[in-house]
C-alpha cells in the first residue's frame, strides 16, 4: 500500500539537506562548542553559522537567537522567564483560549504562583480581536502572548496589530511562531515582537532544536541553571547537529518558502474543493481567508472523526483530529471548542496539513479516500440518517 503524509502541522519529514547537515555536524562537529581546542571550535562554528541562518530567516540579529530544545521549551522560557524576571507584586498576563498547550500550561503554572491570567476568547473565525486584547490590559499587565498561526485551524492572528497595542502599553509581547515559520513570512523586526518561538521539526529538520527570539534588551529568568551557554539563558552543551540542521532548513525557507506556499495553497484549495464537491455537509472550521496556505480543518457533520482518521490511515492516508493524549487516544480539541463548535461537531472535524512532499496525485488520492470513508461512515451513522 502506498502511504501518504498529510499531517505536516504535527511534524514534518526530514529534508535531504537538513539530514545531511545533521549527519555531518554529528560526525565532524562532535566537539563541545565551549571547548578551546580545534574540535570545540569546529562545533562552535557550525552552531554560530546556524544561528546566523535562523536570524536571517526571521530578520533579526544572531545575538537575539537563543537555541533551546524545541517549541515547547521556547514557549516555556518566554512565559515563565519573562514573568519571573519581573518583581512586581501584582502581575497579569494576557493570552488567548486557542494557544498551544506549551503556552496554556505555563500560564496555568503561573496562576498557581499567584499571577493573574486573562484568556481572551476568539470568534467562530478562530481569529483574535485586537480590541479584546486592548480591553484586557491592566496597569499590572506585564506580558501578552498570542500565537502567530494556530496549529489546528491554521488561522493567522493579527500579531502586528497586537504588538502595536503592547508597545503602546509598555507591555512585553510574545508570539508562538512554531506553525508560522516557513508557511507565511516571518519578520520579527516588522512584527515588532519581543519574544518569538520557533521549532525545527515543523520545517523539515529533525526534532531537537527550538529557538526563542529574544529582542535585545528583554530580560528573562532562565528555566535551567548550569554553564554559561546561550548567554546564560539556556545552560547545557549545545545540540549542534540539531541546530545545524535547523539552520540549513531556514536557509531553504528563505529561498523557497514563498513559491512553496503558493504551490501548497493551490493544492490545499484543490483538496478542499474536491472534498466539498464530493462529500455533502462539510464545513470549513475557522476563517477561510486568514489562514495558513497548507492547512484545512473540515467538519464532517454527523460522523466520528476518530473513525475517519483510523479509516483513512488503513487506506494509507495520514491525517489528524484534535490533539493526542499520552495514551495516543484523541481528546476533544480546546481550539474547536473555543470557536464555539459543540462537542459532536468538534469530534467530527479533521485537520489536513500539507507540505513539501505532497503532489497533486497524492491530493487526488486523498480526496478519493476521504469521499469513500465519509460515505461509509455516513451510511452507518444513525445521527446522519436523521439529517438526510
Amino acid at each position: 500500500m502506498n502511504r501518504f503524509y498529510f499531517d505536516h502541522n504535527a511534524t514534518t519529514p526530514v529534508s535531504p539537506e537538513a539530514l545531511d547537515a545533521y549527519v555531518s555536524a554529528a560526525r565532524d562537529g562532535f566537539g563541545n562548542a565551549s571547548s578551546i581546542h580545534h574540535y570545540g571550535q569546529a562545533a562552535k562554528q557550525k552552531l554560530e553559522a546556524a544561528r546566523r541562518q535562523v536570524a536571517e530567516a526571521i530578520n533579526c540579529h544572531p545575538k537575539e537567537i537563543v537555541f533551546v530544545s524545541g517549541g515547547t521549551e521556547a514557549d516555556n522560557l518566554a512565559l515563565l522567564g519573562a514573568v519571573r524576571s519581573c518583581d512586581w507584586k501584582q502581575r497579569h498576563v494576557i493570552t488567548t483560549a486557542i494557544e498551544h498547550p506549551a503556552v496554556l500550561n505555563p500560564c496555568a503554572r503561573l496562576e498557581r504562583e499567584g499571577v493573574r491570567v486573562t484568556y481572551v476568547q476568539v470568534g467562530s473565525d478562530g481569529v483574535v480581536d485586537p480590541g479584546e486584547i486592548r480591553g484586557s490590559l491592566r496597569p499590572e499587565t506585564i506580558l501578552i502572548s498570542v500565537m502567530h498561526a494556530n496549529n489546528e485551524l491554521g488561522t493567522i492572528q493579527p500579531v502586528e496589530e497586537i504588538a502595536g497595542i503592547a508597545r503602546e502599553a509598555g507591555v512585553l509581547f510574545h508570539s508562538d511562531g512554531v506553525q508560522a515559520l516557513g508557511r507565511i513570512p516571518v519578520d520579527v523586526k516588522a512584527l515588532e515582537v519581543d519574544l518569538y518561538s520557533l521549532s525545527s521539526h515543523k520545517v523539515f529538520a529533525p526534532k531537537g532544536a527550538g529557538v526563542l527570539y529574544v529582542r535585545k534588551g528583554v530580560r528573562l529568568e532562565p528555566l535551567l541553571y548550569g554553564g554559561h551557554h546561550e548567554r546564560d539563558l539556556r545552560p547545557g552543551t549545545e545540540n549542534v547537529p540539531a541546530a545545524a540542521a535547523f539552520g540549513v532548513a531556514c536557509d531553504y525557507l528563505r529561498r523557497e518558502a514563498g513559491v512553496e506556499a503558493e504551490r501548497l495553497r493551490t493544492l490545499r484549495d484543490r483538496l478542499e474543493k474536491g472534498i466539498l464537491e464530493r462529500v455533502p455537509v462539510v464545513r470549513v472550521n475557522g476563517s477561510v481567508e486568514k489562514r495558513l496556505p497548507n492547512t484545512s480543518n473540515l467538519c464532517f457533520e454527523g460522523l466520528e472523526g476518530e473513525a475517519m482518521v483510523i479509516g483513512l490511515d488503513l487506506r494509507g492516508c495520514a491525517v489528524s483530529t484534535g490533539a493526542a493524549c499520552s495514551s495516543g487516544a484523541v481528546e476533544p480539541s480546546h481550539v474547536l471548542t473555543a470557536i464555539g463548535l459543540p462537542a459532536e461537531k468538534a469530534k467530527a472535524s479533521i485537520r489536513f496539513s500539507l507540505g513539501r512532499g505532497n503532489t497533486t496525485e497524492q491530493v487526488d488520492t486523498l480526496i478519493d479516500a476521504v469521499a469513500a470513508t465519509a460515505a461509509h461512515l455516513r451510511q452507518l451513522s444513525p445521527t446522519w440518517s436523521v439529517h438526510a
Binding site: L303, E304, G311, L314, G328, A329, L380
Partner: protein, 369 residues
C-alpha cells in the same frame, strides 16, 4: 465468514485479548487492534496509592497492547471512549449504589460500550466483526436460526454471566476465540507465540475502582462532580426492628456483607437489605439471607426466543455463585421473569443480574429487582 474481511480485536493489553489477536493473525485473518481508552488515570488522584497495578486503561496497559500489536505487525489504534464510559457505566454505577442496589458495571460496559459503540466504531473503520478475549462461546443454531451462547469451556473463567444482555445482532458480529480454551491453554499459547504479556497477572474485577474499594471511589467521584457524599447516615437495625447502632451511609453496604458492620452481636450478622428511603441497614442471621424466589426485569433472551410457559433452568445470581436449579415463570410484564429456586439461595441482591442456564447453554438473563 469471508476470509478477507477485517476483524477488530478489542485489545486491553492483557494476556487474553493479546492471545486473541495472535490467534486470528496466525490464521491469516486481517485484523486491526483497537484499545478503548475508558478512564482517564489522572482523575481522582486521591485514590491512587502505591499499589495500583491492574487498573484499566493505565498507560502500562496501552503500552503492552501496543507492544503486542507491534510484535504481530498489525495496525493498532487507541480510541477514546472516556466520555461514553462515564455516561453509560460510571454514572449509573454510582447512582445504583446510592439507590441501595449493587450494580454490575462489567455488564453495562458490555451492553453499551464493547458490544454497542465499539462495534459501531469498528464498522466505521471497516471491520464488520469484532473479537474479544471473553471466555464464552457463540454458535449459530441452524434449527432455530438463532445465535446461541454457551459457557466458556473453562468453567472457572466463564464470563457468560456478564454477557447476558447481548442481542442477536451483537452476537452475529462478535467472535470469542478463547471460549473453547482453558485459561492455562490461552497463557500457553501466548508464551508459544512469544507475546510480551504472556506472564502478566490477571486484571481486577471492576477496572476503574482501585483495590475494590468502591465506597472510596464513590466518595471521590462525587466530590469531583461537585456533589457531596449523600447524607444517608442512619441506623443499623435487625429484621425485627431492634436498633443495633449507626452506619455512615447505605451505599457502604451490600446484601450479604458480613464484615465492617460496625455493630457487635453475639452471633455473626449479615446485611439482609438496605433501605435508602429510610436510611436503614437491616442486618440479621445467615438464614435470614435465604430467598426462594426473585423477579428479574429487563430480561434479554439469547439462546431461546422467549418464555411462554414455565421452564426448568439453573440460575446464577452473582458472578461467583454456582447456578442453582430453579423454574422460570413468565412474569407480569413482557420482559419480566419470576424465578423460583428449588432450594433457598443466599443473598439475592437487587441490582445484580440473574442469568438463566440450561447446562452450558445461556438462555438469557435480567436484572434482580
Amino acid at each position: 465468514m469471508p476470509e478477507n474481511e477485517l476483524i477488530a480485536v478489542a485489545m486491553s493489553g492483557g494476556v487474553d485479548s493479546s492471545t486473541v489477536a495472535a490467534l486470528l493473525h496466525r490464521q491469516g485473518l486481517p485484523i486491526v487492534g483497537l484499545t478503548m481508552q475508558l478512564w482517564n488515570q489522572r482523575r481522582l488522584p486521591e485514590l491512587i496509592s502505591g499499589e495500583t497495578t491492574g487498573r484499566c486503561c493505565s498507560l502500562d496497559d496501552v503500552y503492552d497492547a501496543r507492544r503486542v500489536a507491534e510484535c504481530l505487525g498489525i495496525p493498532y489504534y487507541v480510541v477514546n471512549f472516556e466520555e461514553r464510559f462515564e455516561r453509560q457505566v460510571v454514572w449509573p454505577f454510582v447512582e445504583e449504589y446510592l439507590a441501595g442496589r449493587t450494580p454490575v458495571p462489567c455488564t453495562l460496559c458490555n451492553n453499551f460500550i464493547k458490544f454497542d459503540q465499539f462495534i459501531e466504531l469498528a464498522e466505521g473503520v471497516g471491520a464488520r466483526r469484532i473479537a474479544t478475549g471473553h471466555y464464552a462461546r457463540i454458535e449459530f443454531d441452524e434449527k432455530s436460526g438463532r445465535f446461541v451462547m454457551l459457557r466458556g469451556v473453562d468453567r472457572s473463567r466463564d464470563q457468560s454471566y456478564f454477557l447476558f444482555g447481548l442481542t442477536q445482532a451483537q452476537l452475529a458480529r462478535s467472535l470469542f476465540p478463547l471460549g473453547g480454551l482453558r485459561k492455562s491453554e490461552a497463557r500457553q499459547l501466548a508464551r508459544q507465540y512469544g507475546l510480551p504479556v504472556a506472564d502478566k497477572g490477571d486484571s481486577q474485577e471492576i477496572c476503574f475502582v482501585p483495590n475494590g474499594d468502591y465506597a472510596a471511589f464513590i466518595r471521590a467521584w462525587l466530590r469531583e462532580q461537585g456533589r457531596g457524599e449523600p447524607e444517608s447516615r442512619g441506623q443499623v437495625v435487625t429484621t425485627s426492628g431492634k436498633v443495633l447502632g449507626e452506619h455512615p451511609g447505605v451505599h457502604h453496604f451490600t446484601v450479604g456483607q458480613r464484615r465492617k458492620l460496625g455493630v457487635a452481636a453475639g452471633e455473626p450478622l449479615y446485611v439482609i437489605a438496605t433501605e435508602p428511603a429510610r436510611q436503614l441497614v437491616v442486618v440479621g442471621r445467615a438464614e435470614e439471607l435465604l430467598r426462594t424466589s426473585l423477579t428479574a426485569h429487563e430480561v434479554n433472551w439469547i439462546s431461546v426466543p422467549g418464555l411462554t410457559a414455565p421452564r426448568r433452568a439453573q440460575v446464577k445470581i452473582r458472578h461467583q455463585h454456582t447456578a442453582a436449579p430453579a423454574t422460570l415463570y413468565p412474569g407480569s410484564g413482557p420482559d419480566h421473569v419470576e424465578v423460583r429456586f428449588d432450594e433457598p439461595q443466599r443473598a439475592v441482591t437487587p441490582g445484580q443480574a440473574a442469568v438463566f442456564y440450561d447446562g452450558d447453554l445461556v438462555l438469557g438473563g435480567g436484572w434482580i429487582e
